[in-house]
Amino acid sequence: MAAVHAWRAARVTPLGELHTPPRMTAALLRLTVQVVLVASLWNGLYAQTGTTAGLDRDQAVTYAVLAVLASRLRELDQYAGRDTVLQHMHFGTIVYWYLRPLAPQRYYALRALGEQLYGLAWALAGYAVCLAVGVVRPPESAAVAGVFALSMLLGQWVLYYVMLVIDQLCFWTLRNGAAMLILIFAQNLLSGVYAPLWFFPDWFITLSGFLPFQATLSVPLSLYVGRIPLSEAGAQLAVQAAWVVVLALFTRLLWRRAARRVISQGG
């Protein structure tokens, strides 16, 4: 039977947040501080040096601020709700995921979708404010905006799978703390949250080209600020889509193995 209402499980994150106002205040505060700091940092840097790596000041600030806003789309820590795979494995509550008529992978995906949509609301609000006060530049054209939106969607999709892989590790290791830390660092560094990738040495850029992280954030933001011209957008989108497909297949395989592991160990 097709699940008609099960999609509503997506409301878990927004509901949890709405029931915890202090968490929302903290999120607002952190976002504001990060945006202000990042904007002044890049403004300050450019005041010293002028154009660097083929990017003017406005482009750099826009890139950096958008990166901060986008990283709000999906928080890398969801421990507060005790609904991570790690915690379910630790507390033994993972068994309930396998006791429901909604497959664990479906539940996980719905839950993540709700989380992303919730984060999107924050990111859009932050974007509107930054646009209004002139911290970020609007996109060059409607075409750039459209391509950016599409690329962002694909990027978040890739990010979803990357995080899923890390979560799936818990089925085998019970501890993914170290992997999680490495991932967060790699994600921030290689996706260009800390600094746009083109400031790094060539070998580093080449290396990161073989990893999926660039596809999550660096590509859509580069499209937005015009670092990647529209003429090259098609190729970049294709790479992103390819990552989505590869990771989708890989995580599907892992889900199947995870289920086998749970039903052979009894959670």
Binding site: F91, G92, V95, Y98, L99, P101
Partner: protein, 347 residues
Amino acid sequence: MSGSIEVRGLSRTFHTTVRRPGFAGALKSLVNPERVAKEAVVDVTFDVAPGELLALLGPNGAGKSTTIKMLTGILTPTAGEARVAGVVPYEERERNARNIGAVFGQRTQLWWDLPVRESFAILRDIYEVPEREHRARLGEFDELLDLSSFWDTRVRHLSLGQRVRCDLAAALLHDPPVVFLDEPTIGMDVVVKEQVREFLRHQVEERGRTVLLTTHDMTEVERLAERVVLINHGRLVLDGSLDEIRRKFGSTWQVRATLADPHARVEPLPGIALLRHDGLKVVFGPAEADAPTVHQALKAVIERYEVTDIAIDEADLEDVMRAAYVQAEAVSRAHAEVPSGARAEGV
């Protein structure tokens, strides 16, 4: 929708690596892991009829939880077969999920950050329960379990007893014909325990649900279960009524009577021994063979003699179970010594 449970020769062996002690041991385990097989459940066979409540008993590590995990479909057996409401649980997990509800004592299925009622609503959506039905059932559960006084609280702020009550309700929201409860009343105070028993009795008697329950609380067994299955070291030791268990392991009852007639001829009755005879006071106990239950003995004494006063003393179920576990232990040891294949069936 018949909620029967059929278990046939169910077995489960776990393979684990032994961790050797010490640093050198850890290194050795890393290079050359030593695998051992642990037989958690061995050739267990029993049935539960629709609308019946069965208590699965046994000492710690007996294999109760492992059995329940196989019946809920979370664990695949290494041998044997099980059917729950006609479905093989570990083969059709999602279909089975609609037929069963489960509570694993200390583990909650509720969402930690959400008010309980929101958790219920999410489960309603996952199980596709119509809103009207959902509301009616919540009302019924509230009446029996007093949920409304705390169901707007977030799960993280509930007391243990409140949380387990919510978990019970959550497991039954989709009206499953079969319910598995692994130590559902662990850590509850006496009042809440009684409330939960009342709830379970209602679910069995009024709603016709089949319940398979494990517990270490003998009062609970006494109040709820008519039939118990006893396992030890993964093997079924006994399947029968509480009376049968009493007769087998706890024949320590006494019937004390005061006779009306001082000249009555007092003699043993079938299966009943005369322990003491002192003027008008007589004390009966179970004979060596074919001892009846204490209630049957009481009836026999009253029918045979005219009495002015009568009282019974009975070993409580705790004592009976202790005796049963000790004996089961001896039986398992004997099993272990007999080479497999030459094993006698049953006890």
